[in-house]
């Protein structure tokens, strides 16, 4: 019951803040849409006309995953820094449920709320490009869920590091660009990236949305890598977070003001 109340409280907070600061939310969405338009125009004017449609479809999937990865993994870092500066991080860590549970429900809340925005962006992009992707939810959802689990693991790592480093914002800014690289780079170019937190997931979703692959058409290794990534990154991220929390409590870093 306490998990449910915790999740409800954090989904509600996320939703209230998004709604209350709607102009900010819309501006972020608009900015991402403009980025898409820039990439779309690039393909139209400079790209190879024979692979234009395919490239556009790749761009749509990749940039939406970039948005998702930024929301899930990067924003938690900024949130921890802001909360430490404001003085609310100490209050969160005084919850008898433990700060990690609050952070987990926040990650879930952020993902759920932003998923609605991502669907909006997806349709806006498809409409603009005139390219309709295969939205096979039965195939996409299990892949996405496993990918999100490993993303949450990285989110925990970033949240933990953000507790310890005061000047973490610069790193978080750079991370945004690293995420671009990881979401846009095809696995065929660098196969080892399959063992990075979410790259395999993005690759499989691309296969579904662009090439119309079905759940049953993927091989054992594809699922194995997804499951291993989720099973390794989530506990690893959580362990790093808990360790960082302990160090922060030893060094008195829960409040940065």
């Amino acid at each position: 019951m306490s998990w449910v109340s915790l999740l409800k409280a954090n989904v509600r907070k996320e939703f209230i803040e998004l709604k209350r600061y709607l102009p900010n939310t819309l501006a972020t969405l608009f900015m991402f849409y403009i980025i898409f338009l820039g990439m779309f125009s690039g393909i139209q004017f400079i790209g190879d006309p024979s692979s234009q449609d395919m490239n556009t479809q790749y761009v749509i999937v990749n940039y939406l995953f970039w948005f998702l990865s930024m929301t899930v993994m990067n924003s938690i870092g900024f949130e921890v820094v802001n909360e430490a500066m404001r003085g609310t991080l100490e209050q969160l860590s005084m919850s008898p449920l433990g700060m990690w549970r609050i952070m987990l429900t926040r990650l879930v809340a952020t993902t759920v709320i932003h998923f609605i925005l991502i669907v909006g962006l997806l349709y806006a992009s498809m409409l603009t490009a005139g390219q309709w992707l295969n939205l096979d939810l039965i195939t996409i959802l299990p892949i996405l869920l496993l990918t999100l689990v490993s993303m949450f693991g990285v989110g925990f790592m970033i949240a933990g590091i953000s507790m310890l480093l005061k000047q973490v914002q610069a790193f978080l800014q750079i991370l945004q660009f690293l995420l671009v690289g990881l979401t846009f780079l095809p696995l065929s170019v660098a196969p080892f990236l399959a063992f990075f937190p979410f790259v395999k997931g993005v690759d499989l979703v691309r296969e579904v949305m662009i090439h119309g692959m079905k759940l049953t058409e993927f091989g054992f290794m594809d699922y194995f890598i997804l499951v291993v990534n989720a099973a390794v990154y989530f506990p690893l991220g959580l362990a790093i977070f808990l360790y960082c929390e302990k160090v922060a409590m030893q060094k008195g870093l829960l409040a940065h003001y």
């Binding site: 019951m1 915790l6 609050i102 060094k251």
Partner: protein
């Protein structure tokens, strides 16, 4: 091992907080120099007691409070809440504690008053439905009902402070820790918060530790004070006792003439906490006497220059004066600790 722990709990049934020989050191970021924030601090707090934690800036009050909350891990020593160790069973102890650490900074400024209360309750695993009546009651008690849908960033500092205390109250924990609850408030709001705290203490029977510079709060609320200076406890005594002791020790002498430099030097040496004021109308000397017979030593010094004593008054003293006397002359601390 388990038996020992249980024995410990049985033995300390009345004390809810036990701080045992706690040491906390920090390393300075740039110089890597070790700073001892808290040095071998020990005290206990009884169930239902209201204790003031006092000390000058940088004395180690906030560090001590944060260690009790489990937000800081001590380098040495242990802290238990209801017999549970804050370091080894941190989350368990948090069921028994809530705190207001930075007042209005502990709130979400983009949420309304009610949303803040609901959010923090949710973070402790309580549903909105479960806490609805409690929130309504607190809003009424804290006179925030008409502001319940107001964003926190639009509230006055005093209201934000009251909300932060209400959030701590909503947790329904046995222990409430308040770090500077009246800091930065104007006189009127400070008074209102003080009244509110008195009400909480009287009606809700909570164990409260208040760290403050506001001696009116101490005198009005606290039964006992622990004074920390340079990271160590220098006094741990009931407020009434301290007031009585210092009142007995404190004398004001009205003198017939001004003291000369040599007399002042001698008084300074014998009675370090003396206060001497002289103007065209009167010459007043305030001294604290460890023992009443020491007044004869004072008379000897006054006799040297034929200074006439026109009157002697037992001083009336407030807690601010007591605090200053203790902190300024740490040698008197034995008097406090011994009780």
């Amino acid at each position: 091992m388990v038996v020992g722990e249980n024995e410990g709990r049985m033995r300390n049934m009345d004390s809810i907080i036990e701080v045992n020989n706690v040491v906390k050191t920090y390393k300075k970021r740039k110089t890597k120099e070790q700073i001892q924030a808290v040095n071998d601090v020990s005290f206990t707090v009884q169930r239902g007691e209201i204790v003031g934690l006092l000390g000058p800036n940088g004395a180690g009050k906030t560090t001590t409070i944060k260690m009790i909350c489990g937000l800081l891990i001590p380098n040495e020593g242990s802290i238990t809440i209801n017999g549970i160790d804050t370091t080894t069973n941190r989350l368990d102890t948090l069921h028994h504690i809530s705190a207001v650490l930075e007042g209005n900074r502990n709130l979400y400024w983009r949420l309304t008053v009610r949303e803040n209360l609901e959010y923090f309750a949710g973070n402790r695993g309580q549903s909105v439905k479960e806490v609805k009546d409690d929130i309504d009651m607190l809003l009424k008690q804290f006179r925030l009902k008409d502001k319940e849908h107001e964003l926190v960033n639009r509230l006055s500092r005093g209201m934000q402070q009251k909300l932060a205390i209400a959030v701590a109250m909503l947790a329904d924990s046995e222990v409430i820790l308040l770090d500077e609850p009246t800091l930065g408030l104007d006189i009127e709001t400070g008074y209102e918060v003080r009244e509110l705290l008195t009400e909480i203490a009287e009606k809700h029977n909570r164990t409260i530790i208040i760290s403050t510079h506001d001696m009116d709060v101490v005198q009005a609320l606290c039964e006992r004070v622990i004074i920390i200076n340079n990271g160590s406890v220098i006094t741990d005594d009931p407020v009434k006792h301290l007031l009585k002791v210092f009142e007995l020790k404190s004398y004001t002498l009205t003198l017939g003439s001004e003291l000369d430099d040599s007399q002042i030097e001698k008084i300074k040496e014998a009675f370090p906490s003396y206060v001497y004021t002289a103007d065209a109308y009167e010459s007043l000397l305030e001294v604290d006497l460890e023992k009443s017979e020491h007044i004869y030593d004072l008379f000897d010094i006054l006799k040297e220059n034929h200074t006439i004593v026109e009157g002697i008054d037992r001083g009336t003293i407030n807690f601010e004066q007591v605090f200053m006397k203790i902190v300024k002359g740490e040698e008197v601390h034995e008097l406090g600790v011994s009780s």
